[in-house]
Subunit: 234 residues, 2 copies
DNA sequence: TAGATTGTTAATCGATTAACAATC
DNA sequence: TAGATTGTTAATCGATTAACAATC
């Protein structure tokens, strides 16, 4: 129907980072940036930045570079940050509360509408202006309110079962902090897994490797600062 | 000096997940698994699993597969989970406390030795059996106790400054939850960034893309269940 | 032994980098 | 205009998949 160029996940994962750096530039009053200067700031390559942005359109101007506020807006729109997807949070324990307090859902495209837990000591208490609801009323709630996304901060055991309920009620986006992978089920849903334990083990692995001499290659490809003869790195 | 085969970051990032699935198999009493069966469980490919494991050695046995408990041990050792790296946590706010409560440092190669904060209301209180120390004593502490790693749960503003102190005192591993990238400074340190805001924006982007028809390609390459003619997918 | 499944090499695929014509 | 910097194509590099001989 539309142009429908397939965007690779590698590109998508870089977009929030571009947005973060550009927003910072914008907030410090910078109006213009070239792919080269941005690449230097971000530790990536000018070529990659231009390739990535051109997946979505020609946002720059030859001989000038990119207009920072305009590019911010474009990225915001590509990311869908003005979507206001309705979302519920499952699990109001330590992690759930931290996520609630730490993450700015509104400016990242989501509108948090309810919080659920199974712990009677927590149900009924107030968190961020929302009364914690009993998870046994989840299905009823979802069928009437039709949330589009869910944040899972539950223990592994209940997570799978709760995810099934949510999916059954039409939830098609999952931000999953539970210790299991949601991605393989529900083929028409999208999910983003945040595995803190895996992340910590990765750090451990890298520290161990850098102690021994069994080296791990630096992230994608080491950025060679100023070692090139091409135009891009004048 | 040693074999020193360079391991790519793509492989390293898959190791914790292998470990997670194998531990689960082990705990449910499974003693043996083939790359094919494991691949099916994990939604990856048998070929990739064998390639990945063979970066570190031949842990399997032709005609039999992999011994689950043995492979768990091997992975644990590759990941360095028995390292007991000493670590300090910076920032005992919501996020810091959640990380502290939610993550099992001990079984992931770390030993948490101290918690720091700058908020007078928090300093002196007890968290997980540790008294929260004043961040102004951080340097002093680090010079005498020599922690090897740090968990950063600070706001962006203080994070950079605190990271400099830590690096100056010899800390060479960073688990960074702050809203900035630590990775580019400190070339001889390793760091693992956990950017919750970026992660949420990625989800938003994927939901938006799956609503429109501008598709995002499924993660690495879609696992084609049973669509192959090769031996691996009999 | 025959069957199964690994370790490993070769082929394919995709992502990153380089280069340069277009153009502001 | 001349200089700068993009958009885009081509070349390179790396990661994944396929295939199969080795071998348990």
């Amino acid at each position: 129907m539309s142009k429908s160029k397939k965007i690779s996940m590698s590109v998508v994962r870089r977009l929030p980072r571009y947005y973060r750096f550009l927003l910072e530039l914008k907030n410090s009053g910078v109006y213009r940036v070239s792919s080269q200067v941005l690449a230097e700031k971000m530790g990536s390559s000018a070529s990659q930045i231009r390739q990535d942005l051109n997946c979505f359109g020609g946002f720059g101007q030859q001989g000038y570079g990119y207009d920072v506020p305009k590019l911010c807006d474009e990225l915001s729109s590509i990311l869908g940050l003005d979507s206001h997807y309705s979302a519920v949070l499952l699990g109001a324990g330590n992690l759930g509360r931290a996520v609630l307090n730490h993450v700015d859902f509104a400016s990242r495209g989501f509108r948090l509408t309810a919080v659920f837990d199974s712990n009677p000591a927590i149900i009924g208490t107030l968190i961020n202006g929302m009364t914690v609801l009993d998870v046994s009323t989840l299905e009823e709630y979802c069928l009437s309110e039709k949330p589009q996304a869910a944040v899972l901060c539950l223990p592994k055991e209940s997570a799978e079962q709760v995810a099934d309920i949510l999916y059954g009620c039409g939830v098609r986006g999952f931000w999953n902090f539970s210790h299991y992978d949601i991605s393989m089920k529900y083929s028409d849903a999208v999910s983003e897994n945040v595995h803190l334990n895996d992340s910590l083990m990765t750090l451990c692995c890298c520290m161990t490797a850098s102690n021994e001499d069994s080296q791990i290659k630096p992230n994608p490809v080491k950025h060679r600062r100023g070692a090139s003869k091409t135009k891009d790195k004048a």
